[in-house]
């Protein structure tokens, strides 16, 4: 047994990482769908990104071991959130009454809160260094999103075309992932 230095070895992508990548892609796809005004193109784009993530970045043996229950909770939250978004879009398109449209558009809020709770719970169950990585990654995501949205907002004042608010969480997730990958490398 090599007890001198156990390097994190690579292994083939497992089913869980592929499913997770595809789910991330589906969520991103819905965002892209809003932004590009074409849900099928958005979902196709998002699924491609998710598949690429799952077979490339997630191929590394995950050093952050999320407990099975936490992972199940996150996946349920993610699934409910997606159902909420798709249901909300479908319902708001189907009704003509303004107040019903507002209720329909608010449909993803509750599953969204549950999803945030599930992610928070999973982070709190990580060990101390992994929690630190996540916290620092969230700080990077906050700073990056702040800079991008503020800069783009100011550029909008001088005529740069405005984009949908749906892009904001995508920018945040992007910086969170970039920050996490960088910090995992830093502490490896």
């Amino acid at each position: 047994m090599d007890y001198q230095n156990d390097k994190l070895e690579k292994k083939k992508p497992n089913r869980r990482s592929i499913i997770l990548g595809l789910l991330i892609g589906l969520i991103a796809g819905i965002g892209f769908g809003f932004a590009l005004d074409s849900l099928p193109i958005g979902i196709a784009l998002g699924l491609s990104i998710g598949a690429a993530l799952s077979t490339n970045k997630l191929r590394q043996k995950p050093p952050m071991k999320i407990a099975r229950n936490d992972m199940i909770r996150i996946l349920i939250g993610l699934a409910l959130y997606m159902i909420g978004i798709l249901g909300g879009i479908t319902w708001s398109d189907a009704v003509s009454d303004r107040s019903m449209q507002i209720i329909a558009a608010s449909l993803p809020i509750l599953p969204g809160i549950f999803f945030v709770y599930a992610v928070g719970k999973a982070i709190s169950n990580l060990d101390e260094m992994q929690r630190r990585i996540q916290t620092e990654a969230l700080a990077i995501a906050f700073a990056g999103t702040f800079l991008v949205t503020q800069s783009y907002g100011l550029l909008g004042e001088v005529g740069i075309p405005q984009v949908s608010w749906v892009f904001v969480p995508l920018v945040m997730v992007f910086f969170w992932m970039v920050g996490k990958l960088w910090l995992m490398r830093k502490y490896q």
Partner: protein
């Protein structure tokens, strides 16, 4: 902060994964501590000291010493 965690682990012929399991942390955490990239919290340092039957000062020491 420097430490002699790797030496203590090697003396017992434990892998990083084995030590991580005994301390209820990830292997990445053990690796980061051994390579001086991460300083553990006081509760984890006490847990390590308890596991090796040593005091914290016998495992961890400032870099300039």
């Amino acid at each position: 902060m420097n430490n002699k965690l790797r030496v203590l682990r090697a003396e017992r012929k434990w892998s990083q994964a084995e030590l991580a399991e005994r301390l209820d942390v990830s292997r990445q955490t053990i690796n980061a501590i051994e390579t001086d990239k991460y300083d553990p919290s006081l509760p984890l340092a006490f847990k390590m000291a308890n596991l090796f039957n040593l005091s914290i000062e016998e495992i961890f020491f400032p870099k300039d010493i």
